[in-house]
């Protein structure tokens, strides 16, 4: 009897709780690649609908299916690695992706063409 009372008390408290983020946005949880820490510092949406993510660990990942409601449709491809903290990223029709590395950001932000991404992987 006591236990039931406690449970109903908890429930009523839950309904009266402050609104949370999910009350306003639909939140879908994605799994990220296990081999890295996906600490994303920059994002750009590309014309084909794929996402380009730049990470603190100097990687650029291309995400397919990021707009899907089903998390299992999402796939990741490593586009570049060995960069210095990808703090900014922009799609560039000529060179595909431009990024200013950390130590050069002030200079690169003006032109966005200090392009040192090795194009070893096709998108």
């Amino acid at each position: 009897m006591k236990r039931i009372l406690l449970l109903s008390l908890l429930c009523s408290q839950l309904f009266a709780a402050d609104p949370v983020e999910a009350d306003f946005y639909k939140i879908t949880t994605f799994a990220t690649p296990k081999e890295t820490a996906m600490e994303v510092g920059s994002i750009d949406l590309m014309p084909d609908g794929k996402l380009a993510l730049g990470t603190r660990r100097g990687e650029i990942w291309i995400v397919s299916g990021a707009g899907s409601n089903d998390a299992s449709n999402v796939s990741y491809k490593l586009f570049a690695s060995g960069l210095h903290e990808v703090l900014g990223i922009a799609y560039n029709p000529r060179t595909r992706i431009s990024t200013p590395p950390r130590a050069m950001r002030s200079r690169a932000s003006k032109t966005l063409t200090t392009m040192v991404v090795p194009m070893s992987l096709k998108m």
């Binding site: 820490a37 600490e39 100097g58 060995g82 210095h84 590395p101 130590a103 070893s120």
Partner: protein, 519 residues
Amino acid sequence: MTRLLFAILVTAASARAVEPALFSLKTMTAQMKYDTAEFLVQPGQPVKITFENGDDLPHNLVFCQPGTDTAAMAMKQMEKPEEALKRNWLPDDTRIWAHSKMLNPHEKEVLSFSAPEKAGSYPYVCTFPGHALTMRGVLKVAPVGDTLHDLHFALYLGNWQNLPDFSKLKPHREGTIEDNLLQVKLDDYKNEFGVVFTGKLLAPKKGSYRFYLSSDDGSRILVDGKEILAYDGIHPSGDIKEQGITLEKGEHDFRLEYFQGGGQIELYAAWKGAETQITPLSKWLHPKWQGGTKKQKEFEPIPLVVTNEAVIYRNFIQGAGNRGIGVGYPGGVNIAWSAESMNLSLIWRGAFMDASRHWNSRGGGHEKPLGYDVLQPTGEVTPAFFVAEKPDAEWPKWDKTKRYEGFHWLGYSLDAKRNPTFRYTWQGAEIEESFTVEGNGNKPEGNAKLLRTIKVSGKLPANAWYRVGSGSFTSKDGMFIGKGPLPYRITVNDAQLAGQNLVVPAKTGTMTVTYQWAQ
């Protein structure tokens, strides 16, 4: 009779009173870690540890014999959890030789014991279920090294910005130091003086030894007349500099030169052998010398492992500036390229880099190479190309506020093995540099070599030189042997030794430079 005498001597030696070692050890809140990763004590030394549980979970402190798999030992308790619970999670294991109670959150206990007589690494661990994997450390038992003998000092007067050539000066006062510890006595002068300390140091056997130095202002250490560590100039005592060398068994001449400009007076020197702990040779102890404990590093190490292709790490690398590009090649040889000076900055053997400093928190500061035998063939962040009438000219020095003129960075491209080719222009000529590795740098006897290929196209200015090494070299059979605490060899065609510069006349075409550690 001889044996009896020996026995008496040994007893007398071990009976020599050793000061008790006092430590404090805390558990860290919500991290499943002790705050101290290592304690250093002498064999048989009395030890007193104040163990404080600052965490919100129960923890204990259990010392085991060397080689104990502490995680497996703690895990084994889960086979009979009821019994283990009765023992308050202290394993019933003969390898345990000292332990605390299971402390509740915010309890404290003082443990007193004598350190084992046998030198070795004795693990300590929390044996509460699930804690042993991360909550552990090592009690290191090692004897202290010898200190200096016959320590003399000579005091000189003068106002210097750098260490002078003391051999040309006349000492103001000389004498011996009774307790044989390096110290600056302030009887007569507080500013503008220098001291040369000379004494003997006994290496108990042939092997590697390491020296430590810090001072305010400048100082250097010479062993058997050779400089092994220098910390010259006017500066606060800052970091502790260190350098390893190989010493033959027996007595060695030790010389430490020191000078004081004005302000603070500090001098710290220490040494250690393969089997002895860091032993101060000075009276003053540096605040960064932990006095026998090693606190947990702020972050867990993230070593970057090189397997079958090159690994690139662009970051702030100590000795390669802010635009450092570290490359770990398969074969245990690593380089740091500087995109500020467009030149090779560092070469080292063994492990590549630890990324934990840069991949945690704000990621500030310069990280040093993780491996060993670090070579810096041409000084810190200086360019290779330079125009000078004579090759013994002084090369440009790094000015952190400026760019080197005439250079333009073009980036790098990767081949199938992800080996980078660095590209840049200088005075209109286009240059490509790439590296290959021979031998095995993971073993000191692995005969590791770094081959550097430089391809120049376009027109170069007149009197252009390419510097491959700086410092003192001797030349033998077409090789140049860099002198210093870490000898290495440079092989290159058409090289000229000019003053402190080892240079090649810069030409259009391809040339190869080989860097190799002396065996």
